[in-house]
């Protein structure tokens, strides 16, 4: 679920937790795409409390990354652990995002 979304200057800080399935992914997309339409550049996801993410969630992160790159920004992801980290590695997204 989405715990928090806050904006500081031109950076959006999003904190997620639990399991990210299509509903959560849709919610993230619907909350952040308008911001991207307005020209938001930088997105920082704190996923340290995320225990699972499916392909819809990963796809939304990719979509945000692509849109952010168009805005000359990017997505960085913090706190990946366990199965979630493994999923990033399996899908080679660890080579796409800036992981902290």
């Amino acid at each position: 679920m989405i715990d928090q979304i806050k904006q500081e200057n031109d950076t959006m800080y999003i904190t997620l937790s639990g399991k990210i399935y299509v509903e959560e992914a849709t919610a993230v997309r619907e909350k952040l795409f308008p911001c991207l339409d307005r020209g938001c550049k930088h997105f920082v996801f704190d996923m340290s409390r995320v225990t699972f993410i499916d392909s819809s969630g990963l796809g939304v992160l990719v979509a945000i990354q692509k849109r952010a790159l168009q805005n000359r920004g990017g997505v960085s992801i913090k706190g990946l652990t366990g199965e979630v980290k493994e999923l990033f590695e399996l899908t080679r997204l660890n080579q796409v995002f800036q992981l902290d």
Binding site: A25, D54, S55, L58, L90, Q95, V96
Partner: protein, 569 residues
């Protein structure tokens, strides 16, 4: 090979001679040693025999006197000693010696050698011990003293020559060791002569026997020389010997036969090897070209796979986005389906409502038609009333004229007409009032007519509008039908979308697995391509080596052919 050295016959003869010579020399060496020892022993016995006998030449009293320091009889004593060497010149020396090795009476030869009476001389301790203990003469081993090798015999000189008395001195007689040697050599001379004869005889026998034995070897040698020169067209050797030479000849014949077969085989094989080498060279070239092609392709594959690594990241993103969108679409389709069902229900309710409205509009239309008919009748009645009012107006006008005439008449009648005048006035007034009222009625009727006309047109308009309303409701109904159909097909389409998005390919697990296996495949392909590239390079290198080897093989086959061409078969 040069034939200048000793032949086999010479060598074997020489060997026999060497053996005989060695045997003779062995016999000589052994014989010398044995004879020498025997002569040494014999010389010893001769010495002690002579010494023992010659003790009698010594006057023991004179000797004791000399030993006691009186030299007056020395010459007499020396004469006796000199007699020994004069009488037996073979002896080297003779002397009378004290038991302590002191020369008491040396002979003239010792004096010539530089010894003198009283000089210390060598004494053999073992011999002395034997002499003293066994009171018997004894001889020494060969020893060197005074620059000469000597052997000495010692004989005891008893006081008064009585063997029961004490030994006062020793008679010593020496041999020069050279004498023993000379005697030994003299004894061996016959052996040497006999040996030499044997040597000559052995040599001759050996030469002739060996020459006869070697004859087949010479034949074999000539045969082998021919073979060595490459002549394999020889007739087999005919040697009847059953011994090693017979077997050697058989072996040489067999060898020639085998070499002939081998050379034939080599001829065939070199041709085949040359042909194979040519084939191999062609094949190697093809393989090298293929390997070069493979190397170029694998390099391309490696480079493609490298690009594939980047592409797979792009593909991963695209697939994930696609998967995400499909799942969202599925989710949305589900809610759209629910909404469509609600819409469908609403449309169905709407259609029901439209049907009701239609029925009611039909009723309104009918009622409007009825109203129009009522109004038409009302208009008819109004026209009739208007006709009556006009009649009343005409009557009232005539009544008014009559009343006016009656009033004029009454005025003429005077008083008598006064009452009538009043009635006529009243009648006129009523007639006027009737006229007025009738006019009002006409006005009202006109208003009614106008109102009715308005009503008719309004009703007509209303009916037209109702009809339009009915049409509109019909259209609304048709639109709702279309909406229903559209919603139904929408529901079907959405269900199809849901079915499509239900496909397992788009599920998270499958998509992640697909990306991973694709990425792993491409990564492995890159790695494999690199390995193949390396292997191909090794193959190319190996093929070059093989090509080089093939060329060498071809050259070797040619050389071999040249080599075997020296054989005549």
């Amino acid at each position: 090979m040069s034939n200048t050295g000793l032949g086999m016959t010479g060598k074997i003869t020489l060997l026999s001679l060497i053996l005989v010579l060695v045997s003779v020399l062995s016999i000589l060496v052994v014989g010398y040693n044995v004879n020498y020892q025997q002569l040494d022993e014999a010389a010893g016995h001769e010495l002690i025999g002579c010494a023992n006998i010659t003790t009698g030449l010594v006057n023991t009293d004179d000797l004791i006197s000399l030993m006691n320091g009186n030299p007056s009889n020395f010459n007499e004593l020396q004469k006796g000693v000199n007699w020994i060497v004069d009488h037996k010149p073979i002896f080297k020396n003779a002397a009378v010696m004290s038991l302590y090795g002191e020369l008491l009476v040396p002979d003239k030869r010792l004096i010539d050698e530089g010894f003198e009476a009283g000089s210390k001389f060598y004494i053999d301790e073992d011999a002395l011990k034997t002499v003293l203990e066994e009171r018997m003469p004894a001889f020494s081993k060969i020893y060197e003293y005074g620059g000469v090798e000597r052997k000495t015999g010692y004989a005891p000189i008893f006081k008064d020559h009585d063997p029961g008395n004490e030994i006062i001195a020793l008679m010593t007689v020496d041999f020069d060791e050279q004498i023993i040697q000379n005697r030994t050599i003299a004894m061996l001379q016959s052996t040497v002569q006999t040996g030499s004869m044997f040597l000559i005889i052995t040599g001759l026998i050996a030469y002739f026997v060996v020459r006869r034995m070697i004859k087949p070897v010479i034949l074999i040698e000539k045969q082998v020389e021919q073979v060595a020169d490459g002549n394999l067209t020889l007739q087999p050797l005919q040697i009847k010997n059953k011994d090693e030479l017979g077997r050697l000849a058989y072996g040489v014949n067999k060898m020639v036969e085998n070499i002939r077969a081998i050379i034939n085989g080599v001829y065939d094989t070199t041709d085949k090897v040359a042909a194979s080498a040519e084939d191999m060279a062609a094949t190697t070239e093809q393989v090298t070209m293929a390997a070069t092609e493979v190397a170029r392709n694998t390099t391309q594959v490696a480079s493609d796979a490298e690009a594939g690594n980047e592409a797979i990241i792009e593909a991963s993103q695209a697939l994930l986005q696609l998967s995400s969108l499909i799942q969202m679409a599925k989710n949305k389709a589900k809610s759209a389906e629910e909404n469509s069902i609600v819409t469908q229900e609403a449309a169905e309710q709407g259609k029901e409502t439209v049907n009701n409205v239609f029925d009611r509009m039909e009723n309104i239309k009918n009622q409007t038609l009825e109203t129009e008919q009522f109004i038409s009748k009302l208009d008819q009645h109004s026209k009739e009333i208007h006709g009556i009012a006009e009649t009343i107006t005409k009557i009232a006008e005539q009544t008014n004229l009559l009343a006016l005439n009656a009033e004029i008449e009454a005025a003429r009648a005077g008083e008598a007409g006064r009452g009538f005048a009043v009635v006529a006035d009243e009648v006129r007034k009523l007639a006027e009032q009737s006229n007025r009222e009738a006019g009002q009625v006409s006005q009202i009727i006109d208003e009614i007519a106008r109102a009715t006309s308005d009503t008719v047109s309004a009703t007509h308009q209303s009916r037209l509008e109702v009809e339009e309303g009915v049409d509109a409701v019909k259209k609304a109904g048709a639109a709702l039908d279309q909406i229903l159909k559209a919603v139904e097909s929408t529901v079907i389409d959405i269900q199809s979308i849901a079915e499509v998005t239900d496909d397992e390919v788009a599920t998270s697990d499958k998509i992640v697995e697909l990306i991973n296996s694709l990425a792993t495949f491409i990564e492995n392909t890159a790695s494999n391509a690199q390995q193949v590239s390396a292997s191909t390079q090794q193959t190319s290198a190996s093929m070059q080596t093989i090509s080089e080897s093939t060329r060498r093989l071809n050259d070797m086959a040619a050389e071999l052919k040249v080599s075997v061409s020296s054989f005549k078969i």
